[in-house]
């Protein structure tokens, strides 16, 4: 009757129909992702005229321009901020995920929804809510004044940028860590306690290695997007300390220096690949430790 029950249950034998159905998605990925990225990869080596126009040809001048201290400073600052944000989000995300995963089963979905609500709320709304909270005359400043501290406004400030970056990416960190933690057998914790392991040992030897996949996703999902953020430095940092994202937007929309912008985009892309590789490495190490954990037990 039907060939579906042959080799793998539920899977219909390969046919033209299956590949035909993949065609639209493949067209989107090839035409709107792969080809455009190849075009900017090529543009990053193009010669630009004095006005920033694309003259074609081949040069390394765009990449050489990026070695300028102005760009290096922004790149260094962005990497630092992205790394800081990824680490803070992952550590705080770990604490929150552990808290949720160790609550009773009926409470867990409720707590998770409490993380989902800010996550799905409009990104810009989440950002300007911090201006309301920390800005002049806002509740935070009023509180400080009531306590006798003479404060004007915390916007713009480095603190506001750091807090709103954490706020923007924390939920993204919680989900994968929680997903990994949910599959950890709770009896492992009891066993560790019975064997005399303290809090620190229980986490270092059991929970952290066993949720390594979630932690790696968390780092990756917070590090890369932070590099591309351009709204937060402008709105909460006053635009004084731009991130790479700000530079790319400025190069493309204001300076119209396409080749230079393309070169900077390639640098971000390379950083992305490096972080994916880093996360992969982290995972491999995690897996190795899990195996040795299995041997011990």
């Amino acid at each position: 009757m039907n060939a579906s029950s042959s080799a793998r249950p539920g899977r219909i034998a390969p046919s033209a129909a299956g590949y035909l159905m993949l065609l639209p998605a493949l067209a989107v990925i090839v035409l709107l992702v792969i080809v455009p990225m190849l075009v900017i990869a090529r543009d990053s080596f193009a010669i630009s005229d004095p006005l920033g126009g694309n003259l074609g040809g081949f040069t390394l001048a765009n990449y050489e321009k990026l070695i300028d201290p102005v760009y290096l400073k922004t790149l260094g600052y962005s990497l630092g901020m992205a790394l800081l944000n990824a680490v803070v989000c992952t550590v705080v995300g770990y604490i929150v995920a552990y808290y949720i995963a160790t609550r009773r089963a009926s409470l867990q979905p409720v707590l998770l929804v409490l993380v989902i609500i800010p996550f799905l709320t409009d990104f810009l709304v989440r950002t300007f809510a911090w201006i309301t909270l920390l800005g002049s005359g806002g509740p935070f400043i009023s509180l400080l004044r009531a306590l006798g501290v003479d404060a004007q406004s915390l916007v713009p400030s480095q603190l506001a940028v750091t807090l709103s970056l954490l706020y923007a990416f924390l939920p993204v960190a919680v989900f994968p860590i929680y997903a990994a933690m949910r599959s950890i057998d709770p009896s492992l914790k009891e066993a560790a306690a019975d064997l005399g392991a303290g809090w620190w040992q229980t986490h270092a030897r059991i929970f952290v290695p066993l949720s390594a996949s979630g932690l790696a996703s968390s780092v990756m999902l917070t590090f890369v997007p932070t590099l591309g953020v351009f709204v937060i430095p402008v709105l909460l940092g006053g635009g004084k300390d731009p991130l790479v994202g700000n530079l790319i937007v400025t190069l493309f929309t204001e300076f119209r220096n396409e080749p230079l912008g393309a070169a900077l985009s390639m640098v971000v892309l390379i950083l992305m690949l490096a972080s994916v590789a880093g996360a992969g490495l982290l995972l491999r190490n995690g897996a190795r430790r899990n195996r040795s954990l299995g041997k011990d037990a």
Binding site: N2, L22, I40, L112, F119, T132, L269
Partner: protein, 262 residues
């Protein structure tokens, strides 16, 4: 130590809601300069609905969001169906390819789209916005639907086929009703993602197709107005609506993987 981390976690939940609470409270504050809480007013909501440019941007975002989400859901459905129900060669390759937009920084996707559109002579506008938003929503819709399809018992559609139902009838009478909640979830998540996107829109919007986030951003560069607090409050309420429509258990499965504990 467990007690300490519990307290930190509780403080984090407070941290998650402080800005939202401030937003809501100040949207009803009658004081012009939002200096201190002066009294209750609906004035900012009234001004919001009188703001022509904001409403125009809202319309653009809604149109782009609906079209992009529809396209992403339909293509995502086909993709998920092909990957879950067919023994496709190079399955891992296809899955990887579809996930590329989730890993590549959005800003790189945005600038490359802009470059290609301008090279190809396609003017930025509604079409380019929709195309850009399809790129970032397609992986989400596909993942949601793949998850739903793999947890579906394949014998249900097999039974329909064995009983003589045509592929179309099988889809309409069996597959679609069973997957309706997930299709709705894929659509709503895609819509929400498109609606609040600013990075891709910065590069793909044209004159006259300013989306709501772009409009809010340009307003914010000159300063925060109480009207924006009112808009933010409405968007938070809309978010609650989306979560209720998708359903808590389904949302949990999408974001935190399939349930392993009862």
């Amino acid at each position: 130590m467990d007690r300490l981390t519990s307290w930190i976690a509780r403080a984090v939940f407070l941290f998650l809601y402080l800005p939202i609470a401030a937003l809501i409270v100040y949207s009803f504050n009658s004081s012009e300069v939002s200096y201190r809480f002066d009294g209750f007013t609906f004035r900012w909501y009234a001004e919001l609905f009188a703001d022509r440019m904001l409403l125009e941007a809202l319309r653009t975002s809604a149109v782009v969001g609906v079209i992009a989400a529809l396209v992403a859901t339909v293509i995502g459905f086909l993709t998920a169906f092909a990957l879950v129900r067919f023994r496709v060669k190079g399955r891992a390759f296809f899955v990887g390819a579809i996930l590329i937009p989730l890993i590549v920084p959005e800003i790189v996707l945005g600038v490359s789209l802009l470059t290609v559109f301008s090279t190809a002579g396609i003017p930025t506008g509604l079409l380019t916005l929709v195309l850009g938003h399809v790129v970032i929503t397609l992986p989400l819709a596909t993942l949601v639907l793949m998850g739903a399809m793999s947890s579906l018992d394949p014998s249900l559609t097999e039974a329909a086929t064995d009983l003589g139902a045509s592929p179309w009838v099988t889809f309409r009478r069996v597959l679609f009703p069973l997957l309706r909640p997930s299709i709705l979830a894929a659509f709503l998540l895609s819509f929400t993602t498109s609606f609040s996107n600013i990075v891709i829109s910065t590069f793909t919007a044209g004159v006259g197709t300013t989306t709501l986030p772009l409009r809010i951003y340009s307003t914010l560069r000159t300063g925060l107005t109480p009207e924006l607090n009112a808009l933010g409050t409405l968007l938070v309420v809309a978010t609650l609506g989306v979560i209720l429509a998708v359903g808590v258990s389904q949302m949990r499965r999408i974001l935190a993987g399939p349930t392993t504990t009862p």
